[in-house]
């Protein structure tokens, strides 16, 4: 009987691992659909709208990749993943890429066998507390009950933060952001901690956002970015350079409004020409058509447009560009040259 359990587990892994082998690009093309892992629901970053259509900052990356590869930004099968299930889903081949506010860390890049293709949001971990609690600093949280999503880097940062400051706390493990929000609003925890962007997005959905304050301390670096499996470098290149194309497009002033016009004929800026495929053969080098970047940009706009539309200052989430401004504006967002 002990054996049957062992082999049962082996069967599942064996079958699942078997699927992960073939070249991802060919598989996606054959399927005609991109399997993209996203968050289970985080306003602004990835959530279905009233019609069930997924939208958000991370979702736009999936759509851009689908547009570049399949020429159809809607050919995406969104797979909602929790903090605990996301890595298994990617490692097993259930999804082709993961675009779900996931922090780039050493062990995830090496030991877990993933490739982070870049950073689409520079974030840090913060705390949100009810204003009524009268807490003005995270250092005042000694003895507090803190809601925390399990299986995340924030969970580890939280343990380290309280340990370093010689404070005690009671973790309340939760599975998804929605659950955390419900527990926090019910008062089952004094504070909720996750990436500061996530806190802003969550607070925007509260009935009275003003009753809650995000504490000033940012206790960690959280570079969030899309990732793919280790080993399929061609596929990693496609996802990496699609993200870079969106970023470069903003830098060179290519927007969803003027991309078709710019791509119609070679213009005066050779970098834009190479990006949009009117000059050179960059598309062929990664196994795509020459106008792949044009399609990706047309899908949802450039990086700046995606930011402003989903999480920018004119949205309920209201995040400033800050660290996520272009390098030319003093931020960290920077795409390597297209040549």
């Amino acid at each position: 009987m002990k054996k049957s359990v062992l082999f049962g587990a082996l069967t599942v892994t064996g079958l699942v691992a078997g699927a992960a082998q073939a070249a991802t690009l060919d598989e996606v093309k054959e399927r005609g659909e991109l399997n993209c892992g996203v968050v289970t629901g985080l306003a602004g970053f990835g959530a279905p709208d009233a019609n069930g259509v997924w939208e958000g900052f991370d979702v736009s990356v999936c759509r851009a990749v689908a547009a570049a590869v399949l020429d159809d930004p809607t050919a995406v099968n969104f797979v909602p993943t929790t903090g605990q299930t996301r890595f298994t889903a990617l490692a097993s081949g259930e999804i082709d890429m993961l675009a779900r506010n996931t922090t780039w860390t050493f062990s995830r890049d090496t030991d877990l066998k993933f490739d982070f293709v870049g950073v689409n949001y520079y974030d840090g971990q913060g705390f949100i507390v009810p204003t009524a609690l009268g807490v003005s600093s995270a250092k005042d949280l000694d003895g507090a009950t803190v809601c925390i999503q399990t299986g995340t880097t924030t969970e580890l940062n939280l343990a380290d933060f309280f340990r370093n400051n010689n404070m005690s706390y009671e973790p309340v493990p939760i599975e998804t952001n929605a659950e955390g929000q419900q527990q926090y609003l019910a008062g089952a925890c004094d504070a909720y901690t996750t990436d500061a962007s996530g806190l802003a997005a969550t607070r925007a959905t509260f009935e009275n956002p003003a009753d809650h304050v995000i504490l000033p301390e940012i206790i960690s670096k959280e570079p969030l970015g899309p990732l793919v499996r280790h080993g399929d470098n061609e596929w990693a290149d496609i996802v990496r350079w699609t993200l870079n194309a969106l970023i470069a497009a903003e830098e060179y002033g290519v927007t969803s409004a003027n991309v078709n016009e710019l791509a119609a004929a070679p213009g005066s800026n050779p970098e834009v020409n190479r990006l949009l495929g009117t000059e050179g053969e960059l598309g062929a080098m990664i196994g795509l058509e020459s106008d792949w970047a044009k399609k990706a940009i047309a899908a949802g706009g450039n990086y700046g447009e995606i930011f402003e539309k989903n999480i920018g200052e004119n949205t309920p989430i209201g995040l400033a560009r800050g660290l996520n401004a272009q390098w030319t504006n003093g931020g960290l967002i920077y795409a390597p040259p297209f040549r």
Binding site: M1, K2, V5, L6, F7, A9, L10, T11, T13, G14, A17, G18, A20, Q21, G83, Q84, F87, T88, A91, S107, D111, L112, K113, A132, L133, L141, D142, G143, A144, T145, T150, G151, E155, L156, L158, A159, D160, F162, R163, Y169, E170, P171, V172, P173, I174, E175, Q183, A186, G187, A188, C189, D190, H230, G231
Partner: protein
Amino acid sequence: MTTTSEPPKAGFHPSQLIYDTRYRSLTIQVIAFIALMLGLSWLVSNTVANLQALGKDFDFGFLGQRAGYDINQRLVEYDSTSSHARAALVGILNTLLVAVLGCALATVIGVLAGVLRLSKNWLIAKLMAVYVEGFRNIPLLLWILLIFALMTEATPQPRDFREGGDAAMILGDTVAITNRGVFIPAPFWGAGAGILLAVLLLSLVAIFFWRRYAHRTQEQTGRILPIGWGTLGLLLVPVTVAFLALSLTSGRQVQPVLATGASEGMTLADYAGSQQAINACTVPFSTESLNLRRLMRANDLRFNLVPVADGAEAIAAAEAGRCNILSLPASTIAASVPAGAVALSDTITRGNPVEFERPILGGFNFEGGLQLRNSLIALWLALSLYTGAFIAENVRGGILSVSKGQTEAAFALGIKPSRTMRLVILPQALRVIIPPMISQYLNLTKNSSLAIAVGYMDVRSTLGGITINQTGKELEGMLLLGLFYLVTSLVISGAMNVYNSSVKLKER
């Protein structure tokens, strides 16, 4: 004579393997077995090859690495610097805790509901039918989530217990029901707790012999001794007497509070004012520690507790400067006061053999006492109610399996109805009830892995959840998890089988 002939002694032909019914089934079994083994070896080699292709190795070294995450409910010492193996142990103990609590409550609920469903009282019988059908036919996960939602949404937050809030503690300010759990008083063991425990054990032994004596007397003479009252008396009287005696002799002893760097006759409040921080060396879970904390709380002091094993270690810690206040357990020699320590004018009493610490509202939450987290309560209640419904049906079936003639015969002999049930019906029903009960216990234990739905940190959440996620060792983690549930289930069914063979029908 010569007409009788020997049966022809034919040699064995390979074709007999198929055409001879004596060998055919054997042939089929051998072929099926080989096919099965080939299938298995294909699965194993496929897994090995794919793991290699993914660049993942198969080893259990991750168990020794630092876990890095915190767990709220821990029955053994654990913090974020402990290893993944330790985290798994914490999870295993949490699983076993909820399984044991669940099995016990489910049995009580199940037996009650099963008996009451056969009641002649129409209302009670129908109510029990509604309970059984309601819980049996709705998925367990829904019940867990429903009870958890009720516990968190319908109960007050700790801060509502502050002055001006609309919530209050119950049972003489000893129990607080909050949306983070139920806080109840926690027992602390003082001097003489060992004696108390010994008395309790002796009472249990005495109860055993009393019951045996009573049964034997009844069998031999027919005289019925008061078993229930005797048991109750033996259980309560010696322990109460011992508790009172110990309390009177040592419990009210006054004990000094020692402080380093204090001057003679200082009060605790004055001393606290002269120090940067108060660090108190105490033996955890001792009544001295409890009484010292009560004193410090009464003075509105903020303090850190430095746990020490005994008086000698407390003195060493005070001399090393790790703490500046200490209370010495009774076993310490009174003269061996640490260098530079002076008794304050405030004193504490040694405390009774057992004292209870009440939960007190602290900064964010209740402090002290025992916290039964909502996740534990929701999981426990849901598992018990759900499994109880199945057990109720087993019990009902068992009772119905005993023929009505048994009851009538017992009544004809003039045996009271309650005794009829206990001495005639149930012993016969048990042999029908026990075997399905074993699988209900197994179900409950395995169903406890739904704990993650309410954030209860069982082994599925620690080893099978966070550890796997942080280390990427899915296969190893899941194998260990499977092994744990397998071993637990086999142990439970083994133990229940032993009990089953003791109650089953014995034929001579």
